[in-house]
């Protein structure tokens, strides 16, 4: 991308706007992956770009704004999460609106919503290191190299943690299914 070659120290207003346009989705998704709430994710995304503008000039060595922004977004979202550790899920109004929209079956939507809630709970119960790794890897725009950079570990460690996290999730979900069947 053209903006990736531009060091942030010399970012002008137009370039900053281009940076927002190109990276908003990534920043928003990272924030949403951590906070699980659209309003909080919007706030975090906004704060991320403000920080980028404020402190970008202090880091003349930044050569990859995309990775740097991903890191800032992760930190901002994590700080938000620490302030309010309880997850605030989106209000049901949005789900009701999706139900009313044509083209999708209500059963599927309901199953999706319930499945996602179950997954969120199970990911929330994972050890911190594994939770961080699988949360970041679930963002499709973020390659494993960037995840490793954000977490400060090697690519191999990231892959190992994601594998272990998936294994634990599978075991727990199987146990839940068996429990459900027996009851």
């Amino acid at each position: 991308m053209a903006s990736e070659a531009v060091p942030l120290a010399r970012v002008t207003e137009c370039e900053m706007e281009a940076l927002v346009r190109e990276n908003l989705r990534l920043v928003y998704r990272i924030s949403f992956a951590v906070l699980r709430n659209h309003h909080d994710a919007e706030d975090a995304a906004q704060e991320t770009f403000l920080r980028a503008m404020k402190y970008g000039s202090n880091f003349p060595g930044i050569r990859e704004p995309r990775s740097w922004l991903a890191k800032v977004a992760w930190r901002v979202a994590t700080a938000h999460r620490k302030k309010s550790p309880e997850l605030r899920f989106d209000d049901p109004g949005k789900f009701h609106a999706e139900l009313a929209a044509p083209g999708r079956r209500a059963d599927d939507l309901l199953a999706d919503a319930q499945g996602m809630e179950l997954l969120e709970r199970q990911i929330g119960r994972l050890p911190e290191e594994l939770r961080k790794a699988i949360t970041l890897c679930s963002v499709e725009e973020l390659p494993a190299t960037d995840v490793a950079q954000i977490l400060g570990v090697s690519d191999a460690v990231v892959r190992s943690r994601v594998f272990r996290a998936k294994q634990i999730l599978r075991e727990r979900l199987l146990a839940l299914v068996k429990e459900n069947e027996s009851s």
Binding site: E13, M16, E17, V20, R21, L24, R25, Y28, R29, I30, F32, A33, H38, A41, E42, A45, Q46, F49, L50, M53, K54, D112, G115, M116, L119, E120, I123, I134, T135, S138, V139, E140, K166, L169, R170, L173, L174, V177
Partner: protein, 209 residues
């Protein structure tokens, strides 16, 4: 395929797709414009703050310079302060100093006669006071703009001032005449001068003879 394996496979598929959708969220279309507007506002605010900060800093520096210059000027024109030797002396000499001041003001010492050290201290104190008086008088006399030469010129004495006034009032022709007289004073010198003795001196010498 047995039942548990099939179930595990199905669960794997579900987990994979659920994890793909886990962070799949689209930002609202208005978020982009909101963020850009916010960034612009922030930039403008920062620029305004920077301008105000710079202006305040410059004003503070100017104020400091003005105050410093004023203080330096005051220090230059201020009275000369002379510290007397006995001002900062330790307590033993303070008694002597008190005695000295009493003596200086004509107060009797009482039953305790002043010692030699006390007298010396009294003399020193008196001398210091006189010096202070002279310096204060001189500093009060020397007022006005400071000259650009160093050391600055002392005030003229009364005699010098009178002479200057006289020279100012004397017309130019008279000055030339005086100068001419001064030059011809050599004519008044008598080389072979013999003075005859006075009459009573001559009488006396005759009697002696």
């Amino acid at each position: 395929m047995n039942h548990p394996d099939e179930r595990a496979k199905h669960l794997d598929e579900w987990l994979g797709s659920a994890l793909e959708r886990y962070s799949h969220a689209e930002p609202q279309p208005s978020l982009e414009s909101r963020i850009i507007a916010n960034l612009r506002a922030q930039r403008e605010r920062a620029a305004r703050l920077w301008a105000w900060g710079t202006a305040l800093a410059v004003a503070a520096v100017l104020l400091l310079v003005t105050v410093a210059v004023t203080l330096v000027d005051r220090k230059d024109y201020g009275p000369v302060v002379v510290k007397t030797r006995n001002q900062g002396a330790a307590s033993p000499s303070s008694g002597a100093t008190n005695g000295a001041s009493r003596e200086a003001h004509g107060i009797a010492a009482g039953p305790h006669a002043p010692s030699r050290e006390g007298l010396v201290a009294a003399r020193t104190a008196r001398r210091d006071m006189e010096t202070m008086k002279i310096l204060n008088t001189a500093s009060s006399e020397v007022e006005g703009p400071r000259l650009a030469q160093f050391p600055s010129s002392r005030p003229d004495s009364e005699q010098a001032r009178l002479l200057a006034a006289y020279l100012e009032n004397v017309p130019a022709g008279e000055m030339v005449a005086i100068a001419g007289e001064t030059n011809s004073i050599r004519d008044l010198v008598v080389s072979d001068l013999s003075v005859t003795p006075l009459s009573w001196q001559a009488e006396n010498s005759m009697e002696e003879k």
